[in-house]
Symmetry: C2
Subunit: 137 residues, 2 copies
């Protein structure tokens, strides 16, 4: 899975993908689809070439986020992970990366950010730490 870029000025899946890639992923997380089906869906919003969609979908296969399954004449595409699992995995990677890259420097600010979003998070984290300490002893 070579997705390893997080654009934190973007929104939603655009943080991990280009805009067209993101739209395609979204459609395929809904359900498995052929290139044609994806192209027709996208075309409803804005005219888009079949080959354009094909190229991008194949690139996503190359990146390891989509899989191709031959079915009769054509192929069907589906993500290798659910959307939730994808986001979870990437978030974990990013968080680990921040922590073991910059350690103590960032941890306070991560907590600040957590608190701003949801106060109950601190309790959850406290519990986890308590549990961790019990496990160790």
């Amino acid at each position: 899975m070579d997705i390893n870029n997080f654009k934190y000025d973007e929104v939603g899946l655009n943080r991990f993908f280009g805009p067209l890639e993101a739209k395609i992923m979204e459609l395929l997380w809904e359900q498995e689809r052929s290139i044609k089906e994806v192209q027709q869906r996208l075309d409803q919003d804005k005219p888009i070439n079949f080959n354009t969609v094909m190229t991008v979908m194949n690139r996503l296969v190359g990146k390891g986020v989509l899989k191709k399954r031959i079915q009769g004449r054509g192929s069907l595409f589906h993500p290798v992970q659910s959307k939730e699992d994808f986001i979870k995995d990437q978030s974990k990677k990013i968080t680990e990366n921040l922590l073991d890259g910059f350690g103590g420097v960032v941890i306070n600010h991560m907590l600040d950010a957590m608190e701003e979003v949801d106060q109950t998070l601190l309790d959850k984290l406290e519990q986890k730490i308590k549990q961790l300490k019990e496990d160790k002893s």
Copy 2:
């Protein structure tokens, strides 16, 4: 400050900058320097053109991470933030972004990642949580 890309397959400052940019930032976080001084430092490791260094340094000014200060004939460059502050700010942005972009989906995995850190960080976490709770009451 238009740094908004986090490459989580890279190491250190390369997560935020290109490799050459990162080396230059590192040198300027040590101390304010002229283009010539930066170029000569880098040149010790590997031959590098003066204009190359100049271009990249000016681009970093354009991105808002460096400032230029005229001094006599030439200019001296320095980061607008300390290295620590830079990393803190970016980390906070990334964390907030993850949390309010993907909400509950990522929280547990962020906590998981936090659990995996070393003991001293865990202690820091506990302290920080305690402190945050006191602030509330």
